[in-house]
């Protein structure tokens, strides 16, 4: 960054679902639909990309904040499809702390494994989420390498 203050991702709101209240730990689709914690503005992200499915007018925008080749934070905005929201929420949580290269290669089964209770008829949403996540990770600016000096071995 040149002379600009790096903008931080929006903070995560506290979890109010039963997963935390009961100590169950794992969030179900229902938990994530009730509180989509990773849903937040993505405008300040280091990298941002959109996935769409025009036939159903579904849109998902994913923003990534990156530090040293690792996804420090991920946030999303999506059209109001409950399954899409839940999968996007799970995907952003999954992406945080992972190398950008791993996020850039994510496949739908990885995301579906996070939410095994997504029913068969709705599992296609994972393709849209994975595509948006991959696209965002592929947009991450690469660090500028210092130029090689002439005559260097």
């Amino acid at each position: 960054m040149t002379g600009q203050t790096r903008r931080r991702p929006p903070p995560l709101p506290p979890c109010t679902s039963a997963c935390c209240a009961t100590g169950a730990g794992r969030r179900t689709v229902g938990d994530r639909v009730r509180t989509t914690r990773w849903s937040a503005p993505t405008g300040d992200a280091d990298a941002c990309a959109e996935g769409t499915r025009p036939d159903e007018r579904l849109v998902l925008r994913v923003g990534l904040w990156v530090e040293g080749g690792t996804v420090a934070a991920a946030r999303f905005r999506a059209t109001t499809c409950a399954t899409l929201l839940a999968l996007a929420d799970a995907a952003c949580e999954w992406a945080e702390g992972r190398p950008v290269a791993e996020v850039a290669a994510v496949a739908p089964p990885v995301l579906l494994a996070l939410l095994p209770d997504v029913p068969e008829g709705r599992r296609d949403r994972a393709s849209l989420v994975a595509a948006a996540l991959r696209a965002a990770a592929s947009c991450v600016p690469r660090p500028i390498q210092p130029p090689e000096q002439e005559g260097a071995p």
Partner: protein, 110 residues
Amino acid sequence: MKVAYIFATPNASYILNRMIIPQLEEDRHGVEVAGMFFFVDNNFLLMRGNPIGERLAAVARKKGMLLMGCDQCVYERNIADRLLEGVPIGCFPDLYKALAPANVDQVITL
């Protein structure tokens, strides 16, 4: 006339069990029901083993009637994996898409 029912109130089980299902079974409901959509706690009717739901599913299979649960309501109740066989979940876009070919005359909210 073709109708679709949207069950959005706590009266759904009573109306279904005591009026609509018996009339459909007896072929005297008076209209063709293209589909039914279930909101909030009415989705519990669509769970496997629910006597009203099982009876409704049998009528739906016989008459080619759509049954659909609200996906968000189903998720929030953690029953997505316990619905009657072949009952999809979705939201308004899915409902309208599914009902479009039926050219419904009336959508009745109960």
